[in-house]
């Protein structure tokens, strides 16, 4: 009996068709702009939040979010539902974030004198002082705003990949396998990235843990 080869599942049988956002995207492919408008409304804040924590700048975050929608809209004619819509959109966001980071890094190389720290680039000058002040006096009471700055600073100190992994897991509640698909990495790599990120965060935030508890 000749060996039977199982045919690869077609895009239409891929299982992602049950995703309502995939359905919206398929409608967009057919020229339904209202469907796309719904997708924009669903993802605008989610993307802006991720980009905001990547860039520490609300305006840039919105610009990047808009860029993601532009790319998706332009690619709509060739859209094939080969992944969950959220995975696909955050993959595009990931690529954009990487490109944007490279662009910013290049600009900083030109603008900043060598050796100047950029770790606090996202914080206002007053915020930087605040964070440093809090670090010097870890036993004093800190309010929620201060804690926010401290956590933000801790997040900023993570590598780009670690930060995105943390944000996707924390804000989007993505599973390791979804994050792996989004970032085009393996699940063990994501597990390792998250573990290292959590370790760094723990080191940065442990001194403030008790104060954070009191603040809540």
């Amino acid at each position: 009996m000749p060996p039977t080869t199982k045919p690869a599942p077609s895009v239409e049988d891929s299982g992602y068709l049950h995703d309502p956002e995939v359905q919206l995207m398929l409608r967009t492919r057919q020229g339904d702009d209202d469907a796309f408008s719904k997708l924009v409304s669903t993802y605008q804040d989610r993307l802006t939040t991720i980009f905001f924590h990547m860039t520490q700048n609300h305006e840039s975050a919105e610009d990047l979010a808009q860029d993601v929608f532009m790319r998706i809209y332009r690619a709509r004619h060739g859209y094939q539902p080969t992944a969950k819509f959220s995975t696909w959109i955050f993959r595009i966001a990931n690529n954009l974030a990487i490109n944007s980071h490279r662009g910013r890094a290049r600009r900083k190389e030109i603008r900043l004198p060598a050796g100047e720290s950029t770790s606090m680039s996202g914080l206002q000058p007053d915020d930087s002082v605040l964070a440093e002040k809090s670090a010097l006096m870890p036993t004093r009471q800190i309010d929620k705003h201060e804690l926010q700055i401290i956590v933000q600073k801790a997040i900023e100190q993570l590598s780009e990949q670690q930060r995105l992994t943390v944000l996707l897991h924390k804000f989007e509640g993505m599973s390791y396998s979804d994050i792996a698909e989004t970032m085009e990495m393996t699940v063990p790599a994501i597990k390792s990235l998250l573990s290292r990120a959590r370790d760094s965060l723990r080191t940065a935030l442990e001194p403030y843990m008790q104060m954070g508890k009191e603040t809540r």
């Binding site: 702009d33 796309f36 408008s37 924009v40 409304s41 605008q44 804040d45 993307l47 802006t48 939040t49 980009f51 905001f52 924590h53 609300h58 975050a61 919105e62 979010a65 808009q66 929608f69 532009m70 809209y73 332009r74 929620k144 804690l147 926010q148 956590v151 933000q152 997040i155 943390v166 897991h169 924390k170 804000f171 599973s175 390791y176 597990k191 390792s192 998250l194 573990s195 959590r198 370790d199 965060l201 723990r202 935030l205 442990e206 403030y208 843990m209 954070g212 508890k213």
Partner: protein, 165 residues
């Protein structure tokens, strides 16, 4: 497991995955055992969980109220066919091209007119110009009176100097 034994890197990695509910059942049971027996592991789990909770203070960023409408407008503009007539440079360019076209048409008409006039209208001076060598030597020809004599003079090269001039 001893109460104070520190965890290795693999176990720490597993602890994070354990907290995230990303470990397979058999590994979850292993971690459960470790955590129940080791005070260090319990502390690790607690601190890691607490660190994760601290991220709750991070604010969610909200897109501007007009984000969706702005995005859709930009998308429409992106998709709209490129209409030359709507571009700022279209009107002045059109005017310049129109003036240039009229000038070119005028020049072409002028040239055609010149050519026609040159070829079709007879030039009264042309015959005179053709006969100029004869007119210039008319006195000499009249003095000679006979054509044979003139032909003989020409053969002797008498007129060569006069023609050369």
């Amino acid at each position: 497991m001893e109460k104070t034994v520190r965890l290795n890197a693999d176990q720490r990695e597993d602890l994070v995955a354990y907290l995230d509910g990303e470990l397979p059942d058999d590994q979850v049971r292993q971690i459960d055992t470790i955590v129940s027996r080791s005070e260090v592991a319990r502390h690790e789990v607690e601190v890691l969980a607490r660190t994760w909770e601290m991220l709750d203070v991070l604010p969610s960023a909200k897109a501007s109220n007009d984000f969706a409408s702005r995005t859709m407008t930009n998308l429409k503009a992106l998709e709209a066919p490129y209409v030359f007539a709507n571009q700022w440079w279209y009107a002045p360019l059109k005017r310049t091209i129109s003036i240039a076209a009229w000038l070119a048409a005028l020049l072409i008409c002028g040239w055609i007119g010149f050519e026609v006039a040159k070829n079709r209208i007879p030039n009264p001076h042309e015959e005179l110009l053709q006969d100029l060598p004869l007119i210039e030597n008319l006195d000499s020809y009249q003095e000679a009176r006979e054509l044979d004599f003139i032909i003989q003079l020409k053969q002797n090269g008498l007129f060569d100097d006069a023609q050369g001039k």
